[in-house]
């Protein structure tokens, strides 16, 4: 979960806690994901115990997050009326709330964070008026952008995710060439995404907040502007590429190449090349270091035991271990912190010799690094499909490992 959404969720939680909405009610969460785990932890800190995490994925039923069971949504119907509440911290809030109502759940449902400002399943006058105002703000911003970049194609990357930016930038040059576009501006959310754009070329880049981006993209959709392109695989709601995953596994690489950009599947992706040196390489033993990356904002965390095994393995063999950290993230026990900029991470990993990370967007940034690379995949399904994360995200030239409950780190 990114910091902006985490802060928003915690503020909402604090306000709700102060106003007493949780008092005397059994609290359920819906949708087992990274954000739900963060919400569970935040509730726990306030002394509120979560009864269960509801999830539609049958494979998760019977499992636990800490000691909280993951169960089928219908389990909540056992609660007597007025005794429970469901908190949702997920992009699909509207659909999830609708599902609960359709099942007959009549108690309180709370949206803990605004992950999807495009959706509101209502046709009330008030909703339409509010959404119209939102559209007007987007139209004004879109106009300003068009004036600033007259004659440019505007490329919108609507979500703050490094991997999505990597894929978009890998195929963008072909798309521009195919459509005879000489110049473009790339619009992203946050500095990190802008840095990833910078790895692929000297593109003009505009940085938006999520709210600004959503509103501007709404304007792109509404006006059907031919000089704007939304370079994403499942955002916003008008993009229907994800529906194909219900009948066929299409790896993310091909979703971007063929689905988003309409390019032949044989198209070779452009690689990031504009790396910058990492200043403190002298503190990293060359070829005898491991860069560990245990944190990801959109993936459920791996257990401490997994990382302990890996650190122990490498320390026993004389390696020095480092944890890639940002902000207040803590290095793994037995490791030292490193905080390279995104443009430095490949030179750092290549110098260290080994990179091991939870499968996140950082792995996409490092995809072509000339070192030993391992991606660890929590054993979960991709969105609401039957495909596993590894089916969608497996990286060529990497060791791709699914981490199950009985995980043992073994190396030959």
């Amino acid at each position: 979960m990114d910091k902006v959404h985490y802060k928003e969720m915690c503020e909402n939680l604090e306000n709700m806690f102060q106003s007493g909405v949780f008092a005397g009610r059994k609290i359920y969460l819906f949708g087992h994901c990274n954000a739900t785990e963060a919400l569970s932890d935040a509730l726990m800190e306030k002394g509120i115990r979560v009864c269960a995490i509801l999830d539609n994925n049958e494979e998760k039923h019977g499992k636990f997050y800490h000691d909280i069971p993951i169960t089928a949504p219908r389990e909540i119907l056992q609660e007597t009326s007025g005794s429970s509440a469901v908190c949702i911290a997920a992009r699909a809030y509207e659909a999830m709330a609708q599902q609960l109502r359709s099942m007959g759940y009549t108690d309180r449902i709370y949206k803990m964070v605004e992950y999807d400002s495009f959706a509101e399943y209502s046709l009330s006058e008030e909703t339409i008026k509010r959404k119209r105002e939102r559209l007007e703000r987007g139209l004004a911003r879109h106009n300003n952008l068009s004036e600033k970049y007259s004659g440019y194609m505007k490329i919108f990357c609507p979500f703050n995710a490094l991997g999505d930016i990597c894929f978009a930038m890998s195929y963008l040059p072909y798309f521009l060439a195919r459509h005879g576009i000489a110049e473009c501006v790339v619009c992203v959310i946050g500095q990190a995404c802008a840095q990833v754009v910078g790895l692929f070329g000297d593109y003009p880049t505009e940085i938006f907040s999520q709210k600004e981006m959503d509103e501007t993209i709404q304007a792109v959709i509404y006006t059907e502007d031919k000089n704007s392109f939304i370079a994403h695989q499942d955002r916003p709601y008008v993009v229907n590429l994800h529906k194909a995953l219900y009948i066929k596994c299409i790896p993310l690489e091909q979703i971007y190449c063929c689905g988003v950009f309409g390019l032949p599947k044989e198209t070779k992706p452009y690689k990031p090349t504009l790396w910058k040196p990492y200043a403190d390489l002298d503190k990293i033993p060359k070829g005898k270091s491991v860069i560990l990356s245990p944190y990801a904002k959109s993936v459920t965390a791996l257990s401490n035991n997994v990382w302990e095994q890996i650190v122990e393995y490498y320390i026993e063999r004389g390696y020095k271990c480092f944890t890639n950290v940002a902000g207040d993230e803590k290095p793994l026990p037995g490791t030292l912190p490193v905080s390279p900029k995104l443009a430095q991470v490949q030179p750092l990993a290549e110098h260290a010799g080994t990179f091991i990370g939870i499968r996140s967007g950082l792995c996409d940034v490092l995809r072509y690094a000339a070192c030993k690379k391992t991606a660890l995949y929590p054993d979960y399904n991709y969105c609401d499909t039957k495909w596993k994360a590894i089916d969608m995200y497996a990286l060529e030239g990497w060791e791709n490992i699914v981490v199950k409950d009985d995980f043992l780190w073994k190396k030959n």
Partner: protein, 119 residues
């Protein structure tokens, strides 16, 4: 169609159907998608389409024909926000990726694309 009438009709369709498909008129592939549509569909669906596309109406699937003004009003409403996850607009999507790209690039057959959209 008056705005209030449009909203009421849409609310009725959301209540009465599992899937509302709005077909834009400027889609070269769309006839193919629906001519191959089979009886496998189990959800109750309604197809909204321009009057001139009346020939695409299919057995087992309700159809509502729209005049240009109504079609544009529905398009604008859908392009203002996502008001229901039952509503799907099928268009060539010139400024975003579309499932039809999978058909054009050989990743998906036309039948598979239709099946995915109607799921």
């Amino acid at each position: 169609m008056e705005k209030q009438e449009l909203i009421r009709d849409m609310q009725d369709m959301i209540q009465g159907y599992d899937r509302i498909l709005f077909l834009r008129c400027d889609l070269p592939k769309i006839n193919g998608l629906f001519s191959r549509y089979s009886d496998k569909q189990i959800k109750k669906s309604v197809l909204l389409l321009p009057k001139e596309k009346v020939g695409i109406c299919l057995n087992g699937m309700d159809c509502t024909l729209l005049d240009t003004e109504s079609g544009d009003a529905i398009r604008k409403l859908y392009h203002t926000y996502e008001f229901s996850n039952k509503f799907t607009m099928l268009s060539a999507g010139s400024n975003f990726g579309t499932i039809l790209n999978y058909v054009n690039t050989g990743l998906l057959s036309l039948e598979a694309a239709a099946s995915a959209l109607l799921d």
